[in-house]
Amino acid sequence: MTAADQETSKIIGYALVAPATLLFVAIVLIPLAMTAVLSFNEWGQYSGIQSVITLKNWQEVITDGYYLEVFARTLRIALLVTLITAILGAPEAYILHRMSAPWKGIFLLVILGPLLISVVARTLGWALLFGGNSGVVNKALMNLGVIATPIPFMFTELGVIVALSHVLVPFMVLSVWASLQRLDPQIENAAVSLGAKQPTVLARIVLPQILPGLLSGAIIVFALAASAFASPAIIGGRRLKVAATLAYDEFLNTLNWPLGAVVAVLLLVGLMAIIVGTNRLVERRYAEVFR
């Protein structure tokens, strides 16, 4: 191939990716940049947004303990939801993996089914189950003798964590299941033939090999939990705020767009830092499993 040919094919390459790039720039990069710029604008109760550059909003969010509390709560909820979905989802995926022909398909559908229903509908379902002191969940737990007094689920972090875990567990199951599919079907038999008992097989052979799936599942669940809006809004209500509901309220209730923009940008940057950092660390640690 001559230099001129190479030049032409390069141009054709750029031309082919141009439409997608333009779309991406128009619907992702430009709004993001505008939000970032907005976060530095001045806002007044009566004057509205003024296009002057100021650090006032950032100062307010960083120094006011209220915002710190909201971000800490968001992080706490996201971490606990990730942990719970991993503890529930990984065994669920393993059991699914070991099932035989007809049941495997049926239960995969059962796991994926909820994803077809809107998050709002599913969360409202939880709101019905929790519903105050005489809600179905509390009644059941009390009748079973598990608890003596009703647990407050509505408008608490616990309620938000339960609802979000339910909503997000399919992502964990799917992710772990995908990595189980890549497992050599004879590998467990190999370990057993060498004298390993089932718990040892799971801990030393299966778990290390599904770690990539578990970790990518964790990243998906963490990102979705930290930026979740519907579930915290419905179960947490207007007072128990997380970053996403806080940004929403600043934008649409207080109408303080610049402050909302700061919250949104902080959430995005924080999430990206955590996800990229974890991913780097894990890929380096488990290089052999990822190959």
């Binding site: 038999n189 190999a190 033939s193 060498l194 004298g195 052999e288």
Partner: protein, 349 residues
């Protein structure tokens, strides 16, 4: 009492008998191959010995001890899987050491035995590699080392060489045999490759549709196949119809004198390499060369004769070979063919 005894071993899946009343006695240190086409039940048999498949009926006895209630992890057998099933997240040394760790063997001895076994399979210097960074042949050796290091009472090999290319497969066959002889481990190999089974084993068990067709030494099964299936499966062969006339047997227009008198319709099995080209003679079989294929060390002929289409293998002696449409004359001795009375609807001798 034999070392390992399979007694009327049967496994059914629904109505289908994958393994049907298989009986086999294996001596200590012996190398036995289960040979047959896919679906003949050889792998199921291996899985039953390993304990991964529970027999429907029959017994497996190791040193006169019934294995039925012994968990696979307690049987102490070394298994090499077709896919090798190495642990990709562990190094070669850790892979090999796994079985020793499960046996709670002290670290120092463990290290010694791992090094020793890796040397035996020719992998010293690879201890710190990860399996996915190795070639197929090397992975195969790791799998073998991992199975041998626990000093198994029996080594089970499930199509261990089928993922290797032809040249490497031959090298590994020779090496496998040397390692087996050196370690003295009783070995059962499952394979569909008749050449591999014949090259490696002391005895072969030819299986078809869940049943045993013949159990014999490779040479014996090749020369004296018990059934047409065995004759066909163990390399190329010619199956001809023959007439027994007491002291003589007639095929086409030719006659042979035989030691044991036979009468009636017979079936003759002649290996292609036993048929010789000869001078024109009334007692030789005449024919026309239909195809001729050069295979390096020999020529393969298909010859249309009065007795039917014959396959003939002629060594490449450097002499000018016959060509297609040439008229040729063929002969063989009475001892070169296996004769069997043809019973209606059965392959019994």
């Amino acid at each position: 009492m034999s070392f390992l005894v399979l007694d009327q071993l049967t496994r059914r899946f629904g109505d289908h008998a994958a393994v049907d009343a298989l009986s086999l006695a294996v001596e200590r240190g012996e190398f036995v191959s289960l040979l047959g086409p896919s679906g003949c039940g050889k792998t199921t048999t291996l899985q039953m010995i390993a304990g991964f498949v529970v027999p429907t009926s029959g017994a497996i006895r190791l040193e006169n001890h019934d294995l039925h209630s012994v968990h696979p992890s307690q049987r102490g057998l070394g298994i090499v899987f077709q896919s090798y099933a190495l642990f990709p997240h562990l190094t070669v040394a850790e892979n090999v050491a796994f079985g020793l760790q499960m046996r709670k063997i002290a670290r120092a001895e463990c290290q010694l035995r791992v090094t020793e076994t890796l040397k035996l399979v020719g992998l010293d210097g690879f201890a710190e590699r990860y399996p996915r960074r190795m070639s197929g042949g090397q992975q195969q050796r790791v799998a073998l080392a991992r199975a041998l290091v626990i000093r198994p009472s029996i080594l089970l090999l499930d199509e261990p060489l089928s993922n290797l290319d032809a040249k490497l497969r031959e090298e590994m066959q020779i090496e496998l045999r040397q390692i087996q002889r050196a370690s003295g481990t009783t070995t059962i190999l499952v394979t569909h490759d008749q050449a591999e089974a014949m090259a490696l084993s002391d005895r072969i068990v030819v299986m078809n549709k869940g049943r045993v067709e013949q159990i014999a030494a490779p040479h014996e099964a090749y020369e004296n196949p018990a059934t047409p299936f065995v004759a066909n499966f163990l390399g190329k062969t010619n199956l001809l119809e023959a007439d027994g006339l007491g002291d003589t047997v007639r095929i086409g227009g030719s006659r042979w004198t035989i030691k044991q008198p036979l009468t009636g319709r017979l079936r003759a099995t002649i290996r292609p390499e036993r048929i010789k080209f000869a001078e024109p003679n009334p007692n030789n079989i005449g024919g026309i060369v239909k195809t001729r294929i050069f295979q390096g060390n020999h020529w393969l002929y298909q010859i249309e004769t009065t007795a039917g289409l014959l396959t003939v293998i002629h060594p490449n002696s450097g002499a000018a070979p016959f060509r297609e449409t040439d008229t040729v004359h063929l002969t063989w001795g009475a001892s070169d063919m296996a004769l069997r009375v043809e019973a209606a609807g059965s392959h019994a001798q």
